[in-house]
Amino acid sequence: MNLRDAVRQALGTVLDPEIDEPITDLGFVASCTVSGDGVVTVRLRLPTFFCAPNFSFLMVADAYDAVSAVEGVTRAEVLLEDHHAAAEINRGIAAHAGFVETFAGEAAAELDELRRYFLEKAVVAGQDRVARPLVDAGAGPDELASLTLGSVPGSPALDRLRRRRTALGLPSDDGAPLLLHPDGNPVAAEQVPLHLRRARLTRLGMEANGELCTSILRTRYRGTLGTG
C-alpha cells in the first residue's frame, strides 16, 4: 500500500465519538495531502461553526494520532477549519497539549469519561443492529437472552459491535452474551423487551444525529465534496 492510501485508511479509523461513525464517511475530511518526504497535512471541517468543542477536539486529536502512527509519515499536521474554537484546538494539537491545557480554565478534566459515555451508547445501539433482524424473524425474550456473539450470523454490524465492546473492555469473544448492559451484566429474559426498546431508541438518537450532521455539512459546503 502506498503512503497516501495508508494515511486515508488511518483516517478511516477515526470516529466521531458522538455519532460512532468514521470521520471519512461523515465527510469531515476536507483535504489530505502527502508530500514526497512523508509530511501529511489533513484539514478537517464540521457541519457547523458551533459544533461542540469537546467532540471536535477529540476528532482532531485522534486524527493526529492515527496519521502520526502510519509508517513512513515523518510529520503530521491536522487542522480544524471554520470552527469557533479552531485556533485553540489547532494550537493545542500542535503543542501536544491535552484538552484541559488547551482550554485552560474552561475544562476540569480530560475527555476520557465523555468518550466512554458515548462508547457505552454505541455498544447499546450496536445490540439493536445485531438483534433486530432476529426479533423480526420471531426470536422471543428467552432465546434472545441466551444468544452469544458466536451463535448469531456474522455481519458487519456484529464485527462493529465486537470492536466497540473491546474498546470498552467488555467481553467480545464468541462465548459472550449478545445482550449486555453497559456495565457488563447480562440481560435476563424478563429484561429483554425494555432493553431492546432502549437499544432501538439509543440507535435512533445516534443515527439521526449522524444524518442531521451530514445534511447540514452538505448544505454548508455545497459543491465541495471533500475527500475520503
Binding site: 458522538e18 457541519p47 457547523t48 461553526f49 458551533f50 459544533c51 461542540a52 468543542p53 469537546n54 469557533h84 484538552f99 484541559v100 482550554f103 480554565g105 474552561e106 475544562a107 476540569a108 478534566a109 480530560e110 475527555l111 469519561e113 465523555l114 459515555y117 451508547k121 423480526d136 435476563a188 424478563e190 429484561q191 423487551p193 425494555l194 426498546r197 432502549r198 431508541l201 439509543t202 435512533l204 438518537g205 445516534m206 443515527e207 439521526a208 444525529n209 444524518e211 442531521l212 445534511s215 447540514i216 448544505t219 454548508r220
Partner: protein
C-alpha cells in the same frame, strides 16, 4: 385555526422567534460568532421544502408585517409564544429579547404570549430583571438557554446550579409555570456533554409544580430525553426542530422520532413549535395534519396518530399549559379516556418482573 376534512385544529405555535441577526446588530470584534450563529440556522432552514426557502438577507431580519403574514395570515396559527433568546455576547441588542418580542405583543395582544428568560450568572440584577419582566409582560413561561456565552467568560450553565435554583424558586413565586429548556452546544466546563439531560431530570423532580418543556425533544439526545421523560410527569417534548428539520428532509427518521415520543412521552405531553424564523409554520402544520405513521413493517409497533392526537399536539396541550381559551368547536370531548403512554406500562412491567429501570 386550521381546518381539514371537516376537523378544526386550534393551533398554538409554542416556540417561535422574531429575531434580529442583521449586520448592524453584530458586536464589533465578534462578528464571526454572530455570522456563525445565523449561518448555522440558515443551514437548518434548507431542510424545509425548497419552495419555502428565503434568501439570506431576508433571513437575517424579517419585518413585523412579514411575521404576521407568515405566522397568522398564511400559517394557520391562533396563538404564538415567543421564546426570548438573548445571545448578547455577539448580538448587540440581543437576538430576540423580551422587549423586541413584547413590542409585537403590545400591538397584537390577542395573538402573542411572550416568554421571558433568565440566566443564573446574572445574579441579583438578573432576579430583579425577571421580576420586572414578569410584571410587565405577565410572564407564564421562560426560555432558558444553558449554552449561552456570558461576559464573565463562562460558556454555559446547568439547571442544577445553586444559582439556577434561586431563579426557579423566583419563577415559582412569580407564577411562571413553564420552563422551556434548550441544551447545547457548549457548556461550562467544556469537558461535559453540553446536551446532557441529567440536570433537567433532577430539576424536574425537585420542582414538581413547574413544567419543563424540553425544546427539540432533546435532539441530539432524544434517547436520553425520552427515557427521562417517561419517568418525570412534568416533562414535555417540544417538537420544534423535530418537525421542521425532519418531516420533509428525513421522513423515515421523523416517523421514528414520532413513534418513540408517542411511546415514551405520550401524546398529552408533546407540543408543536414551528421555530419561526428558522422555518415557517404553514408547511409544518399542513404536513403534520396529513401525516401518518408509515404502514411499513418496521414501524408496526409504534402508536398511530388519531385526529385527537394531532389536535392535542398542535394546540390543545400548549393551551392547557398556558391557560389559553380554546373555542368550543376545536375542543375534544372531555371523556377522552386514559393517557396514552405505552412506555410507562413497559417500565411498570419490567419493574414488576424485578429488573432495574
Amino acid at each position: 385555526m386550521y381546518e381539514k376534512d371537516g376537523d378544526k385544529y386550534f393551533v398554538v405555535d409554542s416556540h417561535m422567534h422574531f429575531w434580529d441577526a442583521s449586520r448592524e446588530n453584530w458586536v464589533q470584534g465578534r462578528e464571526q460568532y454572530a455570522k456563525g450563529w445565523i449561518d448555522c440556522f440558515y443551514g437548518y432552514h434548507q431542510l424545509a421544502p425548497p419552495e419555502t426557502h428565503w434568501d439570506y438577507e431576508h433571513y437575517l431580519r424579517v419585518s413585523e408585517e412579514d411575521l404576521m403574514k407568515d405566522v397568522f395570515e398564511d400559517g394557520h396559527v391562533d396563538r404564538a409564544i415567543f421564546q426570548s433568546t438573548y445571545l448578547k455576547y455577539w448580538y448587540r441588542d440581543g437576538f430576540n429579547t423580551v422587549e423586541q418580542n413584547g413590542s409585537l405583543l403590545e400591538r397584537h395582544p390577542d395573538r402573542f404570549i411572550v416568554n421571558g428568560r433568565f440566566d443564573p450568572r446574572d445574579g441579583e440584577a438578573g432576579l430583579r430583571q425577571l421580576e420586572e419582566d414578569a410584571r410587565r409582560w405577565n410572564l407564564k413561561g421562560v426560555k432558558v438557554y444553558t449554552a449561552e456565552w456570558h461576559e464573565n467568560g463562562s460558556r454555559g450553565w446547568k439547571l442544577t446550579d445553586p444559582e439556577s435554583y434561586r431563579f426557579l424558586e423566583k419563577c415559582r413565586e412569580l407564577g411562571i409555570k413553564n420552563i422551556h429548556a434548550h441544551k447545547g452546544p457548549t457548556i461550562w466546563p467544556l469537558d461535559k456533554d453540553a446536551f446532557s439531560m441529567e440536570d433537567v431530570d433532577r430539576t424536574a423532580t425537585d420542582f414538581p409544580d413547574l413544567n419543563f418543556v424540553i425544546e427539540h425533544a432533546g435532539i441530539p439526545r432524544i434517547d436520553d430525553f425520552a427515557y427521562m421523560a417517561v419517568q418525570e410527569p412534568n416533562v414535555y417534548a417540544g417538537l420544534s426542530v423535530v418537525i421542521g428539520a425532519h418531516m420533509h428532509a428525513r421522513p423515515k427518521t421523523f416517523a421514528r422520532f414520532m413513534g418513540e415520543l408517542l411511546f415514551w412521552v405520550g401524546e398529552d405531553r408533546m407540543t408543536f413549535g414551528s421555530d419561526y424564523n428558522i422555518w415557517t409554520p404553514k408547511w409544518q402544520i399542513e404536513g403534520f395534519v396529513d401525516w401518518q405513521m408509515p404502514d411499513d413493517e418496521a414501524f408496526s409497533d409504534y402508536p398511530r396518530l388519531t385526529t385527537a392526537t394531532k389536535k392535542k399536539i398542535l394546540g390543545l396541550n400548549a393551551a392547557k399549559l398556558y391557560g389559553i381559551d380554546v373555542p368550543a368547536e376545536c375542543r375534544l370531548p372531555t371523556s377522552a379516556g386514559e393517557q396514552e403512554q405505552p412506555g410507562e406500562q413497559l417500565l411498570t412491567e419490567a419493574a414488576a418482573a424485578g429488573s432495574p429501570a
